[in-house]
């Protein structure tokens, strides 16, 4: 067909034939369609389109899937936002140490039976750690062991195991400004939570102290609120 067309293309006969066909096609287009049949080709909708409703749209699997995805993403964002709402300098380290508390066994510590407040001298004399002092609120707690170790950032952390309620204390260097080296201080006690553990943290003289307990913040609040005898 193409070969035949290309052979005759441009010839007077072919042009004449094309003109003839176009002219006939133009007249054919003018042939009237019966009115009743023409109605079938009207642009009106014979079947009215179903009304758009929120309910129907929400049942659409694609919309449903997108909605669930958006809710999940929003939930993650809200969770992250809320969990970092109460962040303070050193909170990241405190959370890591709560993980350490959860995995520590008593045999990993050197057995020491004393009052927690007295271990400051031990840390200073044996390990050269200054200001690793247990705050007054927790100084009277009896210890069953302690150790000093380096965390993943080579900071020296003191860990004390307390007899009461399997509580653990951590003393670690406070976070510092990366430019000036100044200690980033925060007032009072702050709480962190990690995998069922709760830590109550305070900072003093460039050293953070954390009392960690397996439980809720309320369990620690009683000790912090307790006036020193």
């Amino acid at each position: 067909m193409r070969a035949a067309i290309s052979r005759v293309d441009g010839s007077a006969d072919f042009i004449s034939q094309q003109n003839f066909d176009r002219a006939v096609a133009r007249v054919v287009r003018l042939i009237s369609i019966p009115a009743e049949s023409a109605e079938w080709f009207s642009e009106k909708d014979l079947v009215p389109a179903s009304r758009w409703t929120w309910k129907k749209m929400m049942r659409n699997p694609a919309v449903l899937a997108i909605s669930i995805a958006v809710v999940v993403i929003a939930g993650v964002f809200v969770f992250n936002f809320l969990s970092h709402l109460n962040d303070f300098p050193g909170s990241a380290t405190a959370r890591k140490l709560l993980g350490t508390a959860a995995s520590t066994r008593p045999v990993m510590l050197d057995p020491v039976t004393a009052e927690a407040g007295t271990l400051s001298d031990l840390f200073f004399m044996k390990h050269g750690l200054e200001h690793y002092d247990v705050p007054a609120e927790f100084a009277d707690f009896g210890t069953i062991g302690c150790r000093v170790f380096e965390d993943d950032e080579s900071r020296r952390v003191a860990q004390i195991w307390i007899a009461e309620k399997r509580m653990q204390f951590f003393l670690f260097p406070a976070e510092r400004d990366s430019k000036t080296g100044a200690v980033l201080r925060f007032p009072g006690w702050r709480y962190v939570h990690q995998e069922g553990w709760t830590g109550s943290v305070t900072e003093h003289s460039g050293v953070c102290f954390m009392a960690a307990i397996r439980g809720r913040a309320k369990d620690l609040e009683t000790y912090i609120a307790m006036p020193k005898q």
Binding site: F20, V27, L30
Partner: protein, 143 residues
């Protein structure tokens, strides 16, 4: 195809009814143009018992240079009747070709023709139409 608007309407509605029923049963054929093929067969069926064109030799003329102007003077209804009066498959070939909606391959498929058959039918149809136009609108100096 029919030259009769009432019959055309009946065929049209019957074809659409058939399509609606098939659609309702989920049995719409996947092949393209099945609706047109169905309509064509219904047209042929509708004219089966009508008076058939006589098998006579129809004049044929070469296409003239003034053919386009002759065609413009033609009443569309008269052209429709002229095409519908042609014996099938020439009628189908002319109707489908001058509807200007299908390419050659579609027409071959719809009218169940071979390429050389379609070519011959169209060529003869043009020459016969030209002869009819010459008879209807004689051109001065044309024999």
């Amino acid at each position: 195809m029919l030259g009769d608007s009432r019959k055309a309407q009946e065929v049209f509605h019957a074809t659409l009814r058939e399509a609606a029923q098939r659609a309702a049963h989920g049995e719409l054929p996947e092949e393209p143009f099945w609706l047109f093929r169905e309509a064509r067969w219904r047209c042929l069926e509708a004219t089966k018992d009508d008076l058939q064109p006589e098998a006579v030799e129809i004049d044929e003329h070469d296409l003239g240079v003034t053919a386009a102007s002759q065609i413009e003077r033609l009443d569309p209804v008269q052209l429709a009747i002229w095409i519908s009066a042609a014996p099938d498959p020439q009628r189908s070939a002319l109707a489908l070709f001058y509807l200007d909606e299908f390419d050659y391959r579609d027409i071959l498929d719809l009218a169940e023709l071979k390429l050389n058959e379609l070519s011959r039918l169209l060529a003869r149809g043009r020459r016969q139409l030209q002869a009819w136009l010459d008879a209807k609108f004689p051109q001065p100096g044309h024999a």
